[in-house]
C-alpha cells in the first residue's frame, strides 16, 4: 500500500472499541488511544493540507506537536477549533475534522499553480514589488490565501478553569528523565508536581523498545506512576503541557480534561516552584535534501511512535535517511511490524553505524556515505534517488521515508527565561546553556540520548535538589537498562547534491534553502533577520523543525560555525493556547464587576436608565415612555420649580481625623482648609505637584479633629490613596488618620424650592430653618430614626441638602423620599444634574478640565495669591508658563444662534472655517431652559480678558457665533442657594 494502514497487532490502542469520526465529510473509524493523526494515517489519508505560499500538498510529517503540516479544523462535542494539529487531538466519538488550506479542496488546490512562479516568489519578493499602484490592491488576494481556519459563531460548552499552586519541586516532563527524578523524590516530604503532555506518563518509553530492570520500559513507567500516586505530596498532571516559564519560577500550564466525546474542560495552572527540573526531551531534526517535503516523508521517531504506540504503518514500503544511529531503531521497528524496509541511507561512514549488524541481520540493506539527491511523487512519495561516494545514482522505490538529521532538545522553557542556548558539537544541537537559578536539566533536553545515563542523571538531580533544602535523597539501586542507543550525529546541514530551490527548510511557510541563500546574499544574515525576511520559523510550529537547520545553513553560507549564529528567542507559549481558556469565564458581568448604588433597586422601580460611570448610575428616568430629552427637561424643571431627588452615593467620602487634620488638609487644597470652622463646608480644588488640577470637591469640618473630604466619584479611591501616600512618605509624624468611607454611607441629594419641606418630613432632630442651618453647613443627627449627616451644599444652584445615612439604609431613604405623597419629588438622573450645574457655571472635573488645566486657569488666581503657606502644586503655579498668554482659561459661552456642541473648537479671531488656528474648545454645552438659549463652558486662550467678545464655535462642518461670558448663567446673585 502506498498510504498508511493499521497494523494487525500491537500498539496501545483499544481494539475492542471503535470510534467513528469524520474527515472532510467522510466517515472513518479509529480506536480509543488514537490521535486524529494516527487514525487518519491508519485510514490511508494522505494529503491533509497545503503549504501557505506555494500550496504544495502536505501530509503528516510528525506524530505529535512537532508536526508543521497537519493543522485541521476540529469540532468535538464541547467546542470548535478553527485549527489544531492532528497529533494533538485525541480521537473521540463524533469528532469532525476538516482541512483548512487548499481551495477548492486540499486534495485539489488551484493555487498550486503558483509553484510555476516560484522563481520570482523567493524570500522577500513582496518587498521588491507590489508597490505600484498600491499595495492595498494586492492585499486582499494575499490575505485570502493565508490563515488557517475561520472562527465560527457556535455554542460551546467547554469549561475553563484557572488554578494556582505552589510546590517545592516542579518536574517538566514525564518521560524517563522526569520519572527517574520523581521516583527518587518519593517519600522525601517535598511537594512535587510533575507535568506530562500525554494521557499517561512514560514519554518515549511508551513507544521505544526498552527494558529497565526486569520490566519493559512502558511497564516500568506504569509502575513508577503508581508509586508516585501513592505519595500524597506528589501530584502528576497528565495531558498537561507547560506553556511558559516566567521569572521567579512561575509557570503556566495547559491541562486538557477529556472524556469520550472530546475535551470537556481546559485548565490553566499557574505554578510557582522553588526548584525546577527540566525534562522535556528532544525531537528529531529533519534532514534537508532536494524534494524533502513530499507527503509520505516523516520524522523518524514519529514513525516509530506510529508503529509502536498506535499500530499504524506509514506505508507498506519504507526507507530510512539518517546521519545518526537512531534511524536504525526505526528500521528495526518497522521491519518487526512487517513493513518492507527497502533501505537505510546513512550519510556516515560504515564504521560509525553501531546498529548496522542488527539491521543487516534483519535483512535490511544499508548504504553508507550515501545521500538522497532527489525524490519523486507530487501527491505521494514514490521513490528516492540515492548517490554514493563513487557518484553512482540509484533509484529506490518507496512510499514512505523516515528522516533523522539529528536531534533538537526542547529547550524552549529555559529560553523563555532568557538563557542563551549553547551549541554542543558532539550532538550538533543547541543545549540550554546556563540555566536559571534553581533549575536543572535531565535527559534528552540536556543532550543525553542514552537511557541508562538519563535514569542515573534523574536520580542524581533529585539528590542535588534535596541537598539544597537539607533533605537527604537516596540513590536507587542500579538496574540493568536495555535499549538501542542513538549514538553519534554527523551533521549534514546542506547536502552536496541537488538544487537548493527544491530543498525545504520550513514546510508551513514554504521556506527553501534557496531562500536562505537569497537572505545571505542580501545581507539578512543575523538569525533574527533571516527569520523575519524569509519567515522561517514564524508559523504555528514556531520553527520546531526548521530553526536549527535554517540557521546552520545560513552559517554555512556565511562561512561561520552554527554556534556563531545563535538562535532566535523562543517566545511563550510553547504551544498555542486557546484565548477562551485564558479569558476563563470573565465575560459580560463577570468581565468587571458592576458597582451598584445602595438604592439601585429603587432606581429600577422608577424606570431608571443606567450608565456605567464606574458605578451603575441613573442617567435619566424613563417615565411614561417619554424620550430622553423630554425626561431630562422635566427633571431639570422639577429641581428648579419643585424638588428633585438625586442619588449621589458614589461621590467620595474620606474622613480625615486627628489633631493635625486641619494642617494636613491645608497642604492639599488651594483654599486654606485649616481655617474651616466646625460645621462649615468649603469648596475647593486640589492639584498635583505640577500644578494641574487633580480633583475638586467640598470639605466639611465635623468637629475640631474630624474633617470629611468629598472627592469626585471618579477620584474617590485615588484621592484617598494620594492623601495616604503623602501622609506615610512625606509627613509620617503628622497626627492624622485617613479613612475612606465612600461605600459606608449612602448619600441622597434633594434639591429645589421644596427641599426644606421634604427634609422636614424626615423628622430631623436638629433645627433646619434657614437661620439655623445656612448654606455650606453640615449637621450630624438623626433623621427618620437613623444616624445621618446632612450637608447643605448645592451643585444645582437650588436649595439643596445632601443626606447621608449608613449605606444599608440607602434604599429605604430613597424610597421614603420618592414616595412622599404630598410633595411628590421627582427622581433626577445624572444628565439633568449636570445640565443644572452647567447653568450655574460650576466646573465638572474631566470635562471642563483637562491634563493641563490649573487652578489659575479656572479663576482661582486670587485664592492662590492669598495662600502664604505651601500646598501641593503651588510652586509650579509660580513658573512663568502658568501665567502665559497661551493658557486656556475657563469662560462661559452663550450661543447667539443655533445649537452649541460640547467638543466644538473655538476658531481664532478672524478665522471662519478649518483648517485654521483655534483658541480653545467648548467643554460642556446644553440647552438651558432657565436662560432660554444654548449655553456652555469653554477653555479659551486669554479667556478672562475676552468676556463680551463674540467667537465662532466650529463643530461638524458648521460654525456658530457665541458670546464669551462669565460662567454664571443662572441666579448669579445666588439668591436661590441661600433661600
Amino acid at each position: 500500500m502506498s498510504h498508511g494502514y493499521r497494523l494487525p497487532v500491537g500498539g496501545r490502542i483499544d481494539r475492542t472499541r471503535t470510534i467513528s469520526f469524520t474527515f472532510n465529510g467522510s466517515v472513518l473509524k479509529g480506536h480509543p488511544g488514537d490521535t486524529l493523526a494516527s487514525a487518519l494515517i491508519a485510514n490511508g489519508v494522505n494529503i491533509i493540507g497545503r503549504s501557505f505560499k506555494y500550496h504544495r500538498p502536505r501530509g503528516f510529517y510528525g506524530a505529535g506537536v512537532e508536526d508543521p503540516n497537519s493543522m485541521l479544523a476540529v469540532r468535538d462535542r464541547y467546542a470548535y477549533e478553527p485549527a489544531l494539529r492532528a497529533g494533538q487531538v485525541h480521537l473521540c466519538e463524533g469528532l469532525e475534522a476538516r482541512s483548512v488550506t487548499g481551495w477548492p479542496t486540499s486534495g485539489f488546490d488551484l493555487a498550486a499553480g503558483l509553484q510555476l512562479f516560484s522563481g520570482i516568489l523567493g524570500a522577500g519578493f513582496y518587498y521588491k514589488t507590489f508597490k505600484w499602484p498600491n499595495w492595498a490592491l494586492f492585499e486582499p488576494l494575499i490575505e485570502r490565501s493565508t490563515g488557517f481556519g475561520r472562527p465560527r459563531d457556535t455554542v460551546e460548552t467547554r469549561v475553563a478553569h484557572h488554578r494556582h499552586v505552589n510546590c517545592d519541586v516542579f518536574i517538566v516532563g514525564g518521560g524517563p528523565a522526569g520519572l527517574a527524578t520523581a521516583r527518587a523524590l518519593i517519600g522525601s516530604g517535598l511537594k512535587v508536581i510533575l507535568a506530562d503532555d500525554q494521557p499517561q506518563v512514560g514519554g518515549s518509553l511508551l513507544w521505544e523498545q526498552t527494558g529497565i530492570g526486569s520490566r519493559a520500559g512502558d511497564e516500568w513507567a506504569r509502575v513508577v506512576a503508581v508509586e508516585i500516586a501513592a505519595d500524597t505530596n506528589m501530584t502528576v498532571l497528565n495531558s498537561t503541557i507547560v506553556t511558559a516559564a516566567y521569572e521567579g519560577n512561575h509557570f503556566t500550564l495547559l491541562q486538557s480534561v477529556r472524556d469520550p466525546f472530546g475535551v470537556r474542560a481546559e485548565y490553566i495552572w499557574k505554578v510557582h516552584a522553588r526548584q525546577v527540573v527540566l525534562a522535556t526531551g528532544m525531537i528529531d531534526r529533519p534532514m534537508v535534501f532536494a524534494g524533502n517535503d513530499r507527503p509520505g516523508i516523516m520524522l523518524s521517531s514519529s514513525v516509530r511512535r506510529l508503529i509502536r504506540e498506535f499500530a499504524v504503518a506509514p506505508a507498506s514500503t519504507l526507507a530510512i535517511y539518517t546521519n545518526n544511529d537512531s534511524g536504525y531503531l526505526t528500521a528495526l521497528a518497522a521491519q518487526q511490524a512487517g513493513i518492507n524496509v527497502v533501505a537505510v541511507v546513512d550519510t556516515r561512514e560504515e564504521t560509525a553505524a553501531v546498529h548496522r549488524v542488527a539491521a543487516r541481520g534483519a535483512g535490511i540493506e544499508c548504504l553508507f556515505e550515501a545521500q538522497i539527491t532527489a525524490t519523486s511523487g507530487y501527491r505521494r512519495l514514490t521513490s528516492i534517488s540515492v548517490c554514493g561516494t563513487e557518484g553512482a545514482r540509484r533509484r529506490i522505490p518507496c512510499s514512505s521515508l523516515a528522516v533523522s538529521g539529528g536531534f533538537t532538545p526542547l529547550i524552549h522553557l529555559a529560553s523563555h527565561r532568557g538563557t542563551k542556548p549553547v551549541y554542543d558539537s558532539r550532538l550538533s544541537a543547541f543545549l540550554p546553556g546556563k540555566l536559571p537559578a534553581d533549575w536543572s536539566a535531565v535527559g534528552g533536553v540536556a543532550g543525553t540520548a542514552d537511557l541508562a545515563t538519563t535514569l542515573a542523571d534523574g536520580a542524581r538531580a533529585a539528590r542535588v535538589l534535596g541537598n539544597t533544602v537539607g533533605i537527604s535523597i537516596g540513590l536507587p539501586p542500579d538496574e540493568s537498562v536495555e535499549g538501542l542507543s542513538c549514538g553519534t550525529v554527523v551533521p549534514l546541514w546542506r547536502p552536496d547534491h541537488g538544487s537548493s530551490a527544491e530543498m525545504w527548510v520550513d514546510f508551513q511557510n514554504d521556506v527553501k534553502v534557496s531562500d536562505v541563500e537569497i537572505a545571505a546574499r542580501e545581507n539578512y544574515v543575523s538569525v533574527e533577520h533571516l527569520k523575519r525576511y524569509t519567515t522561517l520559523g514564524m508559523g504555528t510550529d514556531q520553527g520546531r523543525t526548521s530553526n536549527v537547520n535554517g540557521l546552520a545553513i545560513m552559517a554555512g553560507s556565511r562561512g561561520v560555525a552554527p554556534e556563531a549564529m545563535g538562535t532566535t528567542t523562543f517566545r511563550p507559549p510553547y504551544v498555542a493556547v486557546r484565548m477562551g481558556t485564558i479569558a476563563n469565564r470573565r465575560r459580560g458581568d463577570l468581565y468587571k464587576p458592576r458597582r451598584l448604588l445602595p438604592a439601585h433597586s429603587v432606581h429600577e422601580e422608577h424606570s431608571a436608565v443606567f450608565e456605567d460611570f464606574g458605578w451603575e448610575r441613573p442617567d435619566w428616568y424613563r417615565r411614561n415612555g417619554e424620550s430622553r430629552e423630554a425626561a431630562v427637561a422635566a427633571e431639570m424643571s422639577a429641581v428648579r420649580d419643585h424638588v428633585g431627588v438625586f442619588d449621589s452615593s458614589s461621590l467620595g467620602k474620606i474622613e480625615v481625623t486627628g489633631p493635625d487634620a486641619a494642617e494636613f488638609l491645608s497642604r492639599f487644597y488651594v483654599s486654606n482648609m485649616s481655617t474651616l470652622k466646625a460645621g462649615v463646608i468649603r469648596y475647593s480644588v486640589m492639584a498635583k505637584e505640577d500644578g494641574v488640577i487633580f480633583d475638586d470637591g467640598v470639605v466639611a469640618r465635623l468637629s475640631e479633629y474630624v474633617y470629611l473630604a468629598s472627592p469626585t466619584s471618579g477620584n474617590a479611591e485615588s484621592v484617598a490613596a494620594w492623601f495616604e501616600r503623602w501622609r506615610q512618605t512625606e509627613w509620617p509624624s503628622m497626627r492624622v488618620a485617613v479613612s475612606p468611607v465612600t461605600s459606608h454611607w449612602a448619600s441622597i441629594a434633594i434639591a429645589g424650592p421644596k427641599a426644606r419641606a421634604l427634609l422636614a418630613h424626615l423628622d430631623p432632630d436638629f433645627d433646619i430653618s434657614n437661620a439655623a442651618f445656612p448654606h455650606m453647613r453640615i449637621r450630624e443627627g438623626v433623621i427618620a430614626g437613623v444616624e445621618a449627616r446632612v450637608a447643605r451644599v448645592s451643585f444645582t444652584g437650588e436649595l439643596q441638602y445632601e443626606i447621608s445615612v449608613p449605606a444599608r439604609y440607602g434604599a429605604s431613604l430613597m424610597r421614603a423620599l420618592l414616595l412622599h405623597g404630598e410633595i411628590k419629588p421627582r427622581p433626577v438622573g445624572l444628565e439633568a444634574w449636570l445640565r443644572l450645574r452647567l447653568e450655574k457655571g460650576y466646573l465638572h472635573l474631566g470635562s471642563d478640565t483637562n491634563g493641563r488645566t490649573t487652578p489659575l486657569d479656572v479663576g482661582m488666581g486670587d485664592l492662590v495669591a492669598k495662600r502664604i503657606d505651601d500646598f501641593i502644586g503651588k510652586r509650579s503655579l509660580a513658573l512663568s508658563f502658568a501665567r502665559s498668554d497661551e493658557r486656556e482659561q475657563l469662560v462661559g459661552l452663550l450661543a447667539l444662534e443655533g445649537a452649541l456642541d460640547a467638543g466644538a473648537r473655538i476658531l481664532a479671531p478672524g478665522q471662519t472655517r478649518p483648517p485654521c488656528r483655534t483658541d480653545g474648545y467648548v467643554t460642556s454645552a446644553c440647552f438651558s431652559p432657565s436662560v432660554g438659549a444654548w449655553i456652555g463652558l469653554a477653555l479659551i486662550e486669554r479667556g478672562f480678558a475676552r468676556h463680551g467678545e463674540v467667537v465662532l464655535a466650529y463643530s461638524g462642518g458648521s460654525a456658530i457665533a457665541c458670546r464669551v461670558t462669565n460662567p454664571a448663567f443662572y441666579d448669579s446673585g445666588n439668591a436661590r442657594l441661600h433661600a
Binding site: 512562479f117 522563481g119 460551546e156 545581507n523 504555528t540 485564558i582 459580560g588 460640547a902 483648517p915
Partner: protein
C-alpha cells in the same frame, strides 16, 4: 542601489536569484565620522537617510548594539495613524503618515502600508464629546477623522460584540480612515537600504559604552568595536535613552517600561480595521498573514526586561474575548515586549541636549513607530543645521524646564 521592481524580480528569477545585491553594506567602522547616530532602529536609520539625502551629509555611521531594527521597531504592533490633538503634534504625525503613503516609491521598498482604518470605540456620552472634540480639532489641523454610528460600525467590524448585554455597550466609534498598519521590519530595512546606498555606514553589533568629551562636546565614542571620533552625535535609542544620557552626563524626564504585545495563530481574514477600546484598554488588528495582533497598556513599573508577564497577557486576552466573543476559539501563539520610553506628557523629546553637539530623538513612548519618518527628518535637521527644526520647536527637552508640556495623554490613549 539595485532597483526593486517586478521586471527585475522576473529577470533575477530567471537567473536563479544569484544577482541580488546586499540590502545594506557591512562596512568596517572608520576611525571617525562627521555624524554618528546611536541607535539602529527605525528612527536612527531614518535620521541617517535624511542626513544623506536632504542635507548631503554622507560621512555618517549608525551604531546599533544588536541587529538593525531589533528594538521596538521590530516588536511593535505596526499601527500608523495621525489623530493627535495639538497642531504641533498633528504636523509631525501627519507628516510621517504622508511619508508612509509614498514610502514604497521613495525608498523603492514595499513597506506594505495597509490603510484599513484606525478606530477608537465610543462607549458613553463623555467619550462621544471627546471624540467630537478630536474630530473638530483634527479638522482645524487639516487632518481627517470622523465619527461613525453603531450601524456603520457593525458593518465594518461584524465580529465586534455590540449588543446591549456586553459589559460595556458600544455607541459608535471614531475612525481615521487613513490610519492602518505597515510591515514594521520593512520600515527599518527600507531606510537601512536607502541610507547604506547613499554612503551611510551601518555598524551592527556595536554597543556604545561611553563618551570622550572635550569641554561640553563629545569628540569620541567608546564602543565595543573601539573608539570612533565624531563631530556631531544623534541619539535615537528609545527605551535606552536614559542609559546613553547618563553616559553623556545628564538626566531625562524618561522612564522605561515594558510594553507587551501578542499574536494569535493565523486565521482567515475576519478583521479589516484596527480597533482600539478605551473601555477595555486593548487594541487589535489582523495582519496580512492572518494573525491577530493585540496589545494593551504598558506595565507600570520601570523595566528594561523586554519580556511578557502572564498577568498582562491574561488581562489583554480576556478583554479581546469580551469584545470579540468568537475569538475565544483562536489561539495565542506568541507574546513578547519592547521597552518604551515614557515621558510625562506623552510627546516626543527632540533636538538639543545639555551637551553641545549631542541631539536627541526619544520620548515617543508607546507611539514611536508611526512617527519614524518625521523623527528621522527632524533629528537629521538638528544634526545638520545645529538647531531645532521649526516643526520640533515645541518638543524640545527645555519644555520640561518651564513646565510647558504638550499633553497628548488623551491622544496617545492606549499604548500603540
Amino acid at each position: 542601489m539595485q532597483r526593486y521592481s517586478l521586471a527585475n524580480l522576473v529577470l533575477q528569477g530567471l537567473r536563479k536569484n544569484v544577482g541580488w545585491q546586499p540590502a545594506w553594506r557591512e562596512p568596517v567602522p572608520r576611525p571617525s565620522y562627521d555624524a554618528v547616530i546611536i541607535g539602529g532602529g527605525g528612527h536612527g536609520l531614518a535620521t541617517a537617510y535624511y542626513l544623506a539625502k536632504e542635507h548631503g551629509v554622507r560621512n555618517v555611521a549608525v551604531l546599533e548594539k544588536g541587529w538593525l531594527g531589533g528594538g521596538n521597531t521590530g516588536r511593535n504592533t505596526t499601527v500608523v495613524r495621525s489623530d493627535y490633538l495639538f497642531p504641533e503634534s498633528a504636523a509631525v504625525y501627519d507628516w510621517a503618515l504622508r511619508f508612509y503613503e509614498r514610502a514604497a516609491r521613495e525608498l523603492n521598498f514595499n513597506i506594505m502600508l495597509s490603510q484599513r482604518g484606525y478606530m477608537t470605540l465610543i462607549y458613553n456620552q463623555h467619550q462621544l464629546e471627546l471624540a467630537r472634540h478630536k474630530v473638530n480639532y483634527l479638522a482645524c489641523n487639516g487632518v481627517e477623522g470622523e465619527i461613525i454610528d453603531l450601524a456603520e460600525l457593525k458593518r465594518l467590524v461584524p465580529l465586534l460584540n455590540v449588543s446591549e448585554t456586553a459589559r460595556y455597550p458600544i455607541r459608535g466609534a471614531f475612525i481615521q480612515r487613513r490610519g492602518g498598519t505597515i510591515r514594521h521590519d520593512a520600515v527599518a530595512w527600507g531606510f537601512a537600504r536607502a541610507a547604506s546606498s547613499l554612503g551611510v555606514d551601518i555598524i551592527q553589533n556595536c554597543e556604545v559604552l561611553g563618551f570622550g568629551k572635550a569641554g561640553n562636546r563629545i569628540n569620541s565614542i567608546q564602543t565595543s568595536h573601539g573608539s570612533i571620533g565624531c563631530d556631531v552625535v544623534g541619539m535615537a535609542v528609545a527605551g535606552h535613552s536614559s542609559v546613553i544620557a547618563d553616559m553623556a552626563g545628564f538626566r531625562l524626564p524618561v522612564t522605561s517600561h515594558c510594553l507587551q504585545a501578542m499574536v494569535s495563530e493565523p486565521i482567515r481574514p475576519v478583521l479589516g480595521t484596527m480597533v482600539s477600546s478605551p473601555a477595555t484598554g486593548v487594541y487589535i488588528n489582523q495582519t496580512q498573514k492572518g494573525e491577530l495582533v493585540m496589545g494593551s497598556i504598558l506595565d507600570l513599573y520601570h523595566s528594561y526586561g523586554q519580556r511578557g508577564t502572564f498577568c498582562t497577557i491574561e488581562k489583554t486576552i480576556t478583554s479581546v474575548v469580551e469584545m470579540f466573543p468568537v475569538f475565544a476559539q483562536t489561539r495565542l501563539m506568541r507574546h513578547w515586549a519592547g521597552i518604551v520610553d515614557v515621558v510625562p506628557d506623552s510627546s516626543p523629546i527632540l533636538g538639543p541636549t545639555p551637551v553641545d553637539n549631542l541631539f536627541i530623538n526619544c520620548g515617543w513612548g508607546t507611539g514611536g513607530f508611526k512617527a519614524i519618518p518625521a523623527g528621522g527628518m527632524l533629528l537629521a535637521h538638528a544634526l545638520a543645521v545645529g538647531k531645532q527644526h521649526p516643526l520640533a520647536e515645541k518638543f524640545g527637552l527645555d519644555r520640561f524646564r518651564s513646565n510647558r508640556l504638550v499633553d497628548e495623554g488623551a491622544a496617545s490613549g492606549i499604548a500603540h
